[in-house]
Subunit: 244 residues, 2 copies
């Protein structure tokens, strides 16, 4: 049997946001590898082995997936959203650096990442130049996050903030909000999108003056508008032109 | 008949990157509205009216779509990639500002945007914080583009550059490359991804020293690595950790 490895994005949650490409890979797989709640999104079937693992073991998980593919298994590593955005694809290539060159096929299968599903649910807040910043300081110093927030504000980017808030560092997001208020002023719009595309979806748009840290949790992506972002009806959008 | 309007992302080109949600909307539509080459991607069927229009008439197109939905039609405005990323969703909300509040349903249906399909084909160059900048100066002054490129480089964002090169402004991308060389140095990796996911897909990764303006055309998205972006085998990826 010829093995292969695919790193696949399951999208933000809804089944009808999983691409046919990813569905086909899941249907052909012998093994599914990933973080527990993402593996739980794959329907079990006879002969399909599930390998759920805990958070923060991304490199071990990637190495195990490479070993299985080398042994002839058809392995899908599943990520939420898109595998290339703060997810498993980079971990896989990190693992590959220390491994023998693979003699099997490796594919990265894109998915709908959280910020784009959230933007669609809100309207079009990322309709002009924007950036994506992971607020977790597990893998980078907090000072760098702060610097990036300030430079992104100076560039007048709309911003998508991933992993805004975790139990292990509840104070980080409060500091991020303070920095954003300093750089962008109190009237800037900020949207909290939780569990987008699932039955628990919740959307909340306020000004930075009104924003509180507890408006975000681990299932939220946060979108900060640029200086031109505005409301129309219940929608939030950023015009295509630069701010006047 | 109750009309509705959906702005749908067709993804970068391959049929198996169109989400089931978008497929369902296309199957229920009475009218398809969009730029000529995107409307051409929708299979004709009896009773389905196609309304292709030229580039740079986005507001007129959005107004026509709103009028049709108000008249009871089921209208899908199609965009390539994701409708919220440099595409039709913002134009729709701009048109809505001058219109009576709609009494019909409006939905934005996300899609796989070009940078994420390109990143997946290349490896994982957007695996750390990144930004997306539209290099077209149709709707913003060139000085703002230049400022954003410099601030993005200072923030050490990986960058996805949309619309790098058009016939009407061939000099812009050459200037962008000069700025990137100044800010990021000659060894930074830059990837040119053309017609991703189609039979004409072409990928080319070089250093900024080697990069030439004619490596990009109107069907390209360009991805500039951050200071830690590197190659492994034929892949390009950005590690999850910040640069050392």
């Amino acid at each position: 049997m010829t093995g292969w490895l695919a790193v696949a994005g399951l999208g933000p949650g809804a089944d009808d946001l999983v691409t046919p490409e990813v569905q086909a890979a899941l249907a052909e797989a012998t093994d599914i590898v990933g973080y527990i709640p993402y593996v739980a999104r794959v329907a079990p079937r006879p002969g399909l082995r599930l390998h759920p693992s805990d958070n923060r073991v991304e490199l071990d998980r990637a190495r195990a997936a490479l070993d299985m593919a080398a042994a002839g298994r058809r392995v899908v590593v599943v990520s939420s959203g898109d595998p290339g955005v703060f997810a498993m694809a980079s971990a896989l290539f990190e693992a590959l650096e220390g491994a023998p060159p693979p003699d099997f096929d490796i594919r990265i299968l894109p998915g709908i990442t959280a910020m784009l599903a959230a933007a669609a649910a809100l309207g079009a807040p990322l309709g002009h130049d924007f950036c994506a910043i992971n607020l977790s300081d597990n893998l980078k110093p907090w000072a760098l996050i702060e610097q990036r927030l300030r430079l992104a504000a100076k560039a007048d980017f709309a911003m998508a903030l991933y992993n805004p808030r975790s139990k292990s560092r509840p104070e980080g997001f409060a500091r991020a909000l303070d920095i954003l208020r300093e750089e962008c002023g109190p009237d800037r719009l900020i949207s909290f999108a939780r569990a987008v595309s699932t039955p628990e979806q919740a959307l909340n748009t306020v000004t930075l003056a009104e924003a509180r840290p507890d408006m975000a949790d681990m299932r939220s992506v946060v979108i900060v508008g640029n200086s031109a972002t505005r409301r129309v009806g219940h929608w939030v959008y950023t015009p295509r032109s630069a701010a006047p």
